[in-house]
Amino acid sequence: MLKSLRIENFRCFQTFELQQLGLLNLLVGTNNSGKTSLLEAIQLLTSQPGLDTLREVMVSRGEYILDHKRNNGRELDVRHLFYGHEIDVGSRFSIFGRNHNHQESITVFVEQAEWTDTQTRQYNLSRDRDFEDSQQVKLVIEWLVGKENERVKLPLSSFNGLPFRYLDRVRRNSKHLEAKTQFVTASSLKNENMIELFDQIVLTPEEEFVTVALQTIEPNIERIASIGSEPYQFAGSHSGFVVRLADEDQRIPIGSMGDGIWRMLGLTLAIVNAKNGVLLVDEIDTGLHFSAMSDMWKLIWETAKRLNVQVFATTHNSDCWSSLASIASTEHPSPEGITIHRIEKDKPNSIVFTERQIVIAAERGIEVR
């Protein structure tokens, strides 16, 4: 479990620190204060082997370039990851995490390329016109987990882009990376991801748990099933699942049920698939009526404890944090419990409310956001 996180020169943060992290952490702050960037930082630090995460993060923000002229395909516009949106030789960003008994970090920097023959072969540079006539620089990504480190070097194009085709070639093989990280964006998971996650748990005890979670929104739901066959799958739609209701003979497509059910399904599938890992949720209140939020938090908190999932979520919503207070406890605050972190622009660290302070703030009408 992450106890603290420090980042340097990443996105809008020159330096920033999150301390006193708990098992369940809610990040609040004004628009553009960098809450989502913090989730990304945690994701980059804790995510699975390979650079798929980096690609997903950047593509979802539209941070890529299409090089039509050179027919080079898509490139990640990596300068947006760096503070100030500019890179040069020597530019560097780092994300450091401190756990119970070890440190981990990811550092990304730009250096002048001096390619060895092996690397030239590995990346087919000799056949790549782009690198013959460009100022050759490379992006170095260095992971450190405890005492082990790993490093990959990737060539950057003349636009300082990182061509997609290099990303697939990088696979981390550290043993430490058994933990799983799940990221639920504000617009929730895509249906193909949800079906994939559902397949992981179908006919396991966790399937029952998903049903219980959905019942907090719609008590009539008796069962949920995925229907993976193609006619039901349209990218971006709320399709691929049907539910049986207590008072209905026919099965009902989940898309008929409203956004709250879809959100809840996404959250529960994500958390049960993040066992011993990390769940990141952007704008966790999206689609949920305020009356559903206490139940949502109860589910997330109970599951986080049961499956040892560290949760980081963001919100703008007042009901969202005050309903979190309803599951926090003043009498028995757990030492690794619930925290709220307010992110303020240009401050070097977050303002932390401990579990007990969250309850006090809710009772006294102290605004934490």
Partner: protein, 216 residues
């Protein structure tokens, strides 16, 4: 629902939260509206609920806060009261001074927040809000005030049940009972000038308050 208030005063009880606005407004500061007062007062229903390190540090972390003041009663142990409020503040204000200045504490915390403490009646003597209010009884009313105190003592000897620390309360309510109109509540007595909010003896507090909250 929680609102953002840049200037907040924490007090022990309802009485404090009613009296302070009247006192300050009578000293030339427009208190503003109920929704948007110049200083938002939060009362805690008792000293014990207020002097909690987590309460004070949570208050100090409120979104958009610029100034936090705390007003407590010295009661019968001014030195001990200061120590306990100081200890409770340490979590949020690690560099809080050792001693409470006679003119009230105004301290700029490392994060730029203005932090103040006033201990009723005067940061030094035993007593409470009501003790402070006895200071602002109009000068022309002293004979009656003397008499009110004597009568209260006599009532005590005839079995009146109030406890000794509440002597100042009993005195001032006795005195208020004999004004015109009789028996106004304290904050009304200020508005109606039965008490004199511009009395020189009130000025030390008013100056502290205006300076802490930067009111002109």
């Amino acid at each position: 629902m929680a609102d953002v208030h840049p200037k907040i005063l924490l007090v022990e009880g309802r009485q404090d939260s009613r009296v302070i606005p009247e006192l300050i407004e009578a000293n030339g500061i427009n208190w503003g509206t109920r929704k948007k007062p110049v200083v938002y007062i939060r009362d805690f229903g008792g000293y014990q609920k207020l002097i909690d390190p987590d309460v004070i540090s949570a208050e100090l972390q409120a979104s958009g806060l610029a100034v936090l003041g705390i007003m407590v009663d010295a009661d019968d142990n001014p030195a001990g009261r200061w120590q306990s409020i100081r200890r409770a503040s340490l979590k949020g204000i690690p560099d809080i001074p050792e001693n409470l200045p006679e003119n009230g504490l105004i301290h700029i915390a490392p994060n730029g927040i203005r932090f103040g403490i006033w201990m009723m009646p005067d940061n030094k003597m035993r007593g409470m809000l009501e003790t402070f209010l006895t200071y602002i009884i109009p000068n022309g009313n002293q004979i009656l005030w003397q008499f009110a105190q004597e009568v209260t003592q006599e009532a005590k000897s005839k079995g009146s049940g109030f406890i000794d620390p509440h002597c100042d309360k009993a005195n001032i309510y006795t005195w208020l009972a004999w004004q015109n109109p009789p028996g106004r509540q304290i904050h009304q007595a200020i508005t109606e000038r039965i008490l004199n909010p511009n009395h020189p003896a009130a000025q030390k507090f008013v100056i502290w308050f205006k300076a802490l909250y930067e009111l002109a």
